[in-house]
């Protein structure tokens, strides 16, 4: 039986197939933006053909898609309306009232996902204790429904104040709308975000509603193609929280997919590092435009509970990834005052770097590599693209070397130094700024450009080891197979810790547990080893920013609460170096993470093949001949001392002087400072 992961990106669709013996096969095909499911199917067929397998051999299929992310970024969303309390219809338009660009008086603030004219206030209030203080005005709901019918509303979000304490009004509004607006999908904020702070809750509910028709249709189309192709395995989709969810659940909560793109890279990178024996991993996923930095202490990627998508706050757990504008296409420029910057502007893939010869004129990171010889020469990029050294040199000379008075080689090195320093700052934000020492971590270099910069980035932040997985260019697709089924539940439940009644707490936890088990049951037998993990958001009374700490399992009791409180105090001290004089705590939100395993992926290398080693002139302070090795020809145990360049179909690894490389039995390449 085959297990397949397919990750559809903007340019390429990456796919990984694992056979029953754990051997991997990869495919990379162009994405098909007009009909995304076509590219998906092409990748699937390429894998099956390569493996000589039949569609009904597929036992499990996980899919990562940016369809939700792109829809939010491009505002290609359903025509959505919001129903909320009378007097608060501008909750989205007001937002936090903060300006995003403080010194820019001229650029307008982004428009909310739902314009004011489709935001409807209806009478009825729940108070801060969850009690109804004014009954719901059902006539007003019906009147709003009539306006929504007239304006062609395609989806509705409902956000009532304090619905996280008492969802009765939201539910009743949902019932009334379902009658008056048949076939129009509805999102209740209390279903998606049962947490306090009305604006992020409204914003998340609206984004979810706006995605319902689109994501539903997409998943329906993929399901249709799979059925037609004879694949019966249940489809699961990657979520922002780093777990997968069954397709039917994704159709109800599409917003959970919104930040799933970078998540798969972090999950895949962390798992591949664990396979290579590294408990602590910093994932470094670098492509043409951006670099995504994630961190997984003890193998567990860090999660954050507030995020945003294209300026819209999204209150859902997501893998914490720092994305910076640093990629192969990042443009290098010197301003009138002699300051050299690299990125965030990117030449993208088209026209791309000057060396592509497709009309791009600006000097980029890729051009710097071509000048230095780490790319180019006789070697071509994935897809057979040749690199023009003359064009790269001309661009680097004009844009960087001449303005700074450097030689073209020094200028190219300067570009990479700035780039590496920018990425090192990002690594520090994800590690030292959170009290984690990067020297205790391994760097996992993935993405098309990650393995080119692994050694230098590691040098910059003092990381001793770099793991380059067997197939770094398709690590996100790999992550799809490495991930668990995961459902995150949470409930705002504010109480001073000392006043909590353990029986009341257990009742709340029991209700959450029932809900979680029902969700896990929807994965239809592909998963085993269900696990429930409890956490609690806690703070010192008076603070607003919570820390999330583990909560012992049911029955939690007073001792369990005390343990959580102790964990909180320790974490607060670790992060902020002090304990307040009055150290009374309160809990804010109970969180439940329900996971189930889908046979974890194990990476195995392909068999070594005979590939000729070559040589390449490279500049790293002086010109020298560097060995060029074929990754496929490296066998476990082969020690290799830098400098060298290691080529493979999906990426290039640059092994600098002072570094050694060794192939692990699992196929990963581990680079160490000598």
């Amino acid at each position: 039986m085959q297990r397949i992961g397919i990750d559809v990106g903007g340019s390429f669709t990456d796919a990984v197939l694992l056979d029953p013996e754990g051997r991997a096969r990869i495919a990379k095909v162009p994405s098909t933006p007009a009909r995304i499911e076509a590219g998906f199917l092409a990748a699937l067929e390429a894998l099956l053909a390569g493996a000589g397998a039949r569609p009904d051999d597929v036992a499990y299929l996980a899919h990562g898609t940016t369809v939700a992310t792109n829809a939010i970024v491009t505002r290609g969303l359903a025509r959505t309306s919001l129903v909320t309390n009378a007097g608060f219809a501008d909750v989205l338009a007001i937002g936090t009232q903060m300006r995003r660009r403080v010194y820019d008086l001229w650029t307008p603030e982004p428009e909310p996902l739902v314009p004011r004219e489709r935001c409807h206030g209806v009478g009825g209030r729940i108070d801060a204790q969850g009690a109804e203080v004014e009954p719901l005005d059902e006539d007003a709901v019906r009147a709003a429904a009539a306006r929504m019918r007239a304006d062609g509303t395609e989806a509705v979000a409902v956000m009532g104040l304090f619905s996280f304490l008492n969802p009765a009004h939201e539910r009743r509004i949902g019932e009334l709308l379902a009658v008056d607006l048949p076939g129009v999908p509805i999102t209740l904020s209390s279903d998606v975000v049962p947490e306090f702070r009305e604006y992020p809750r409204a914003s998340t509910a609206v984004a979810n509603a706006a995605l319902l028709p689109l994501v539903g249709a997409y998943i329906g189309a993929v399901d249709g193609e799979l059925a037609a192709a004879g694949v019966a395995a249940p489809l699961h989709l990657m979520q922002s929280n780093g777990g997968v969810t069954p397709a039917a659940r994704a159709c109800e909560q599409p917003i959970a997919l919104a930040a799933s793109g970078p998540a798969a890279g972090v999950i895949g990178g962390a798992r591949l590092a664990a396979d290579a024996g590294e408990a602590n991993a910093i994932t470094f996923d670098m492509g043409g435009t951006t670099a995504d930095i994630g961190i997984a202490p003890g193998g567990a990627p860090q999660i954050r509970f507030d995020g945003d998508a294209a300026g819209t706050p999204i209150s859902l757990p997501q893998i914490d990834v720092l994305c910076i504008g640093a990629g192969g296409g990042s443009i290098a420029a010197v301003d009138a005052f002699g300051a050299l910057t690299v990125g965030p502007a990117s030449a993208g893939a088209d026209p791309g770097p000057a060396a592509y010869g497709k009309g791009g004129e600006r000097a980029t990171v890729t051009d710097a590599h071509v000048v230095l010889g780490t790319l180019g020469g006789e070697r071509r990029l994935a897809g057979g693209l040749a690199l023009d050294r003359g064009l790269a040199e001309a661009a680097v000379r004009r844009d960087v070397a001449d303005p700074l008075g450097l030689s073209v080689e020094e200028a190219a090195q300067a570009v990479l130094r700035i780039l590496n320093a920018n990425m090192a700052n990002a690594v520090r934000v994800m590690s030292v700024a959170r009290g984690l020492d990067p020297r205790a971590f391994a760097l996992v270099a993935i993405g098309g450009a990650g393995p080119m910069h692994g050694c230098q980035l590691a040098d910059e932040v003092g990381i001793p080891r770099v793991v380059v997985p067997r197939y770094p260019g398709v690590a996100a697709a790999w992550g799809l197979l490495a991930t668990d089924i995961r459902h995150d539940l949470r409930r705002t439940w504010r109480r001073p810790t000392t006043l909590i009644d353990p029986a009341e707490l257990d009742g709340e936890m029991a209700r959450m547990e029932d809900e979680a088990r029902a969700l896990l049951d929807r994965s239809g037998g592909v998963a085993t080893g269900e696990e429930l993990a409890w956490e609690v958001d806690m703070r010192y009374r008076g603070q607003a920013y919570n820390l999330t700490v583990p909560l012992p399992p049911r029955p939690t009791g007073a001792a369990g609460l005390a343990a959580a409180e102790a964990a909180f105090a320790a974490e607060h001290h670790r992060l902020y170096d002090y304990t307040p004089p009055v150290a009374e705590t309160e809990i804010v939100t109970i969180r439940l993470r329900a996971t189930a395993r889908t046979q974890p992926a194990r990476s195995e290398g392909g068999a070594p093949v005979d590939a000729p080693a070559g040589a390449q002139r490279v500049y790293d302070g002086a010109w020298a001949d560097w060995r060029v090795m074929a990754r496929d020809a490296l066998a476990p145990g082969t020690p290799l001392a830098g400098p060298a360049i290691i080529e493979q179909e999906d990426a290039t690894t640059v092994l600098h002087r002072g570094w050694t490389a060794a192939v692990q039995p699992g196929g990963a390449l581990v680079l160490e400072r000598a």
């Binding site: 009378a86 007097g87 608060f88 219809a89 501008d90 909750v91 338009a93 007001i94 937002g95 936090t96 009232q97 903060m98 300006r99 403080v102 010194y103 820019d104 008086l105 001229w106 307008p108 603030e109 004011r116 108070d127 801060a128 104040l161 304090f162 306090f196 702070r197 009305e198 604006y199 301003d335 005052f337 002699g338 300051a339 050299l340 910057t341 700074l404 300067a414 130094r417 700035i418 320093a421 920018n422 700052n425 520090r428 934000v429 030292v432 700024a433 504010r494 010192y540 008076g542 603070q543 607003a544 920013y545 607060h572 992060l575 902020y576 170096d577 002090y578 307040p580 004089p581 009055v582």
Partner: protein, 532 residues
């Protein structure tokens, strides 16, 4: 001692300095207590050279940007050589480089090779620092001594040990000691984090290069600023605006006037035409006067000029002693923000004349705000509710003004309704944009925000203010655009249901069921609305 880094290392160091300031800011807001810091982000962090010049700032609220160096210079002047590792200093004295008393500034020295090589600092608006009015701040104070505790650049932490007497004094004099002391802890933690990071940077690159990098950051910014000023027209421009009154009902409007010209690569902002200081809390300490000028100028310099001592060295602010923008001790000034915002608008108006391609209509500067203290019947504890409402942004040549923003040197978040009701004995009855409040124009001004707060406790008292309630001084339209609708304050009586207008600024005592209604002004419109 200081070594000049090569241009590439220079960029790397400059970026590291900015990251240090930003990390300090994260530590501060995540561990602070007052909603004004944790929800509204009314604070800033920065790193400074050994002599106090600003090197890098976090950028939460511009009203506090570019002025910490005035206070730090006072700390250095006072304590000179008697500074040790593990020390922290506190200051808020408006006549020793501070702003207004609620803005507490904390500084810690950074040591290397046995001497001070840099400083880190944090400024945060505390919810209450004692004094005559809950929340300390009021337009109706008449001398500094009514404005709460004054810290004249004193030691707060001595070689790692808190100076207990200072903490005891604070706890005994402020209305919410737990929040104030908690916020101070957060400020110290933030400064320490910054100092730690600077130490690591020195370890990584060597002291000489880090010091050289700090110098170069300042020089580069000064060069950049100078070159941009030299590209501006040399003619002088001027603009004026008015505050509604001095803070007491029936008093006269207060003139604010700015005359700007570029001379030899320096921008002179001459405020000599502004009013003399006034007998109320509406005066502006000189540090805040500079912050207003820096903000307005930076908007027109474009995004590439960071804030540090280099920018400051190219902007000369002229404000005669004894005037609204440079009052003399012990003149009151706790509500200085209203005049700061109006001054910013006047300077932007003048710069719009100088650089017409960037002309913009006036954003509202009504800044509706209040602090009300009440005992919460749910807990029996005293609580201080503070909120700040936005209004309309000015319209631009190609687009309407933003709705509901806190413009210019301010950028506070509005308090979430659910936080207001969970943590304070109030109900928010509505929170909405005011239809028609934006000035008319080819592009309309942004809309103001209205919020109604009904009291659930037996009684509450405190101060409130709304500037720009006088229609003569509403947000200015531009190129034929109309003015924004003025701001407004009103009170609805809980028993009779009758609504009565309130003066723009005042002290308020309300009872259960009473509703405070505040409205932010709309923004000015751009272009003739009748033109095709």
């Amino acid at each position: 001692m200081s070594e000049r880094p090569d241009p590439v290392l220079q960029e790397i160091l400059a970026s590291a300095f900015r990251h240090i300031a930003e990390e300090m800011a994260v530590v501060e807001y995540r561990s602070s207590y007052s909603p004004i810091i944790r929800e509204m982000l009314d604070f800033n962090c920065g790193m400074f050279a050994a002599d106090g010049r600003a090197i890098a700032n976090s950028e939460q609220i511009p009203a506090q940007l570019g002025l910490m160096q005035f206070a730090l210079e006072a700390v250095i002047a006072k304590h000179g050589e008697r500074v040790h590792p593990g020390d922290a200093f506190i200051t808020n004295h408006p006549y020793m480089g501070g702003t207004h008393t609620p803005d507490l500034q904390v500084f810690t020295p950074v040591f290397a090779d046995g001497r001070v090589v840099a400083w880190t600092g944090s400024i945060a608006h505390h919810i209450d620092i004692g004094g005559r009015f809950p929340g300390t701040e009021s337009a109706q104070t008449t001398e500094l001594y009514q404005e709460g505790l004054i810290f004249p650049a004193i030691r707060l932490v001595d070689r790692g040990e808190r100076v207990g007497a200072v903490y005891e004094l604070v706890a005994a004099n402020v209305r919410d000691p737990a929040a104030t002391l908690g916020d101070l802890d957060a400020q110290i933690a933030s400064c320490r984090r910054g100092a730690l990071r600077i130490g690591e940077l020195v370890e990584r690159h060597g002291l000489g290069l880090v010091l050289g990098g700090m110098e170069a950051v300042v020089e580069q910014t000064a060069r950049r600023t100078e070159a941009l000023f030299r590209s501006w027209p040399e003619r002088a421009v001027e603009a004026e605006g008015f505050l509604d009154d001095i803070g007491f009902e029936g008093t006269d409007p207060v003139r604010i006037h700015a005359r700007l010209h570029v001379a030899d690569g320096t921008l002179v902002v001459d405020l000599a035409g502004s009013a003399a200081q006034v007998p109320s809390g509406m005066n502006v300490p000189i540090a805040s006067t500079h912050a207003a000028a820096y903000f307005a100028v930076r908007c027109f310099l474009g995004g590439d000029v960071p804030h540090n001592a280099g920018l400051a060295s190219r902007v000369r602010v002229v404000a005669p002693e004894g005037s609204l923008f440079n009052p003399v001790f012990p003149t009151a000034l706790s509500a200085r923000h209203l005049a700061v915002q109006r001054l910013t608008d006047v300077i932007i108006d003048a710069l719009s004349d100088l650089l017409p391609e960037h002309a913009i209509a006036g954003s509202q500067v009504s800044f509706p705000s209040f602090v009300l203290q009440a005992v919460d019947p749910r807990t029996g504890e005293l609580s201080l509710l503070v909120d700040i409402l936005g209004g309309g942004g000015g319209a631009r040549p190609g687009h309407r003004g933003d709705d509901g923003i806190d413009p210019y040197t301010s950028n506070c978040a509005i308090l979430p309704v659910e936080i207001a009701e969970l943590e304070y004995p109030f109900v928010v009855e509505r929170s909405e944009l005011i239809e028609g409040s934006g000035g008319a124009g080819r592009h309309r001004g942004g809309m103001g925000i209205r919020r109604d707060y009904r009291l659930l406790a037996d009684e509450a008292d405190g101060m409130y203010y709304v500037e720009q309630t006088d229609p003569r001084f509403g947000p200015r339209g531009r190129d034929g655009g109309g003015p924004g609708r003025p701001g407004r304050a009103a009170l609805r009586d809980g028993e009779t249901g009758a609504e009565r207008p309130l003066p723009g600024k005042g002290y308020l005592r309300i009872r259960r069921g009473d509703t405070l209604i505040l409205e932010g002004a709309g923004g000015g419109g751009y272009g003739d609305p009748a033109a095709p």
